[in-house]
């Protein structure tokens, strides 16, 4: 089993994600420079956080249109796992891996702090190791993380169980006061792909993957991916 973490100019969480996958979860993980493309058959591709292309134009907009993303879109369309974290989520949305977009926070400033998330579905490779309705604690660090989508898209996401995480309070209540960035319906994790095999989320699970970091709640996202790949078996 092998994961790839795609490194763009301006990525800055790439090595943290490699650490979480390889050292914490024990799976081989390559750091792949975006210009080198995805040439190996990876079991999972992760788009890490950071400020690709300096957030010029819109966060994630330019990275989303680099050639490496064509291979990642094919990987996702074939059911391969793709995880976009923070800037990676913005890139994923800009490249159409999930519907909607992540844009400027309702209060236009950078917010960096732990938040509570409610797990909305366990029917995905990324959320299978949580309990439905479980409240987890994972940090956010973004200025452009407000999820926006049309009413039709929101209705479809809800109907198809494609909302993975919503901001909530410590008791799991999804309320405006627990919504740090003004996201539509408190949504901050969206599932895409034919088999919910794509997750784009603004919070940073790699920053909550070990107890020493204050929370290990994010680790189960990676472990769930690994479990799904193991179950699919070699060559799947």
């Amino acid at each position: 089993m092998r994961f790839a973490v795609v490194q763009f100019g301006g990525s800055n969480c790439d090595r943290d994600v490699v650490h979480a996958v390889s050292d914490v979860c024990g799976v081989d993980c390559d750091l792949v420079w975006y210009k080198d493309g995805i040439t190996t058959d990876y079991d999972a591709v992760i788009l890490p956080g950071g400020f690709s292309y300096g957030d010029y134009l819109r966060a994630g907009a330019i990275a989303a249109r680099t050639p490496v993303m064509e291979g990642i879109r094919r990987h996702a369309a074939a059911g391969g796992l793709v995880l976009g974290i923070c800037n990676g989520a913005q890139i994923g949305a800009e490249s159409g891996l999930v519907p909607g977009t992540f844009t400027t926070n309702a209060t236009p400033k950078f917010i960096c702090r732990p938040v509570c998330l409610r797990v909305e579905t366990t029917a995905s490779p990324f959320t299978r190791l949580y309990r439905e309705g479980e409240v987890i604690r994972v940090p956010i660090a973004h200025k452009e993380g407000r999820y926006v989508a049309s009413p039709e898209v929101l209705a479809r996401l809800n109907a198809e169980g494609r909302v993975a995480f919503r901001f909530c309070d410590a008791d799991g209540n999804v309320i405006p006061a627990a919504n740090p960035n003004g996201a539509a319906e408190n949504i901050t994790g969206v599932l895409g792909g034919p088999a919910k095999n794509v997750l784009c989320l603004m919070p940073h699970p790699e920053r909550a993957s070990e107890e020493v970091l204050g929370s290990a709640d994010g680790r189960r996202i990676f472990l769930g991916m690994i479990r799904s790949i193991e179950e699919a078996g070699p060559g799947a």
């Binding site: 819109r58 907009a61 800009e94």
Partner: protein
Amino acid sequence: MMKYTAKITIALKEGMLDPEARAIQHALANLGFSTGFLSTARIFIITLEAENEEAAKAEAERMCERLLANPVIHRYEVEVGA
């Protein structure tokens, strides 16, 4: 081929929350300015070569569709001059 200049304006769709505009409006209010409505937009000035004005406009619109605008939140306007 002729040289044209395209002026592309990218703005938020009507009804979209514009947090920066709201912050600017507050700042103007603090300076004693009263504003009814304030929105922000981004303008790109691009020179390009095309067969004619229509082709130049169509090319600029493709740039909006492919990169400059995000259709989820943006609308755009293209003006082309010689």
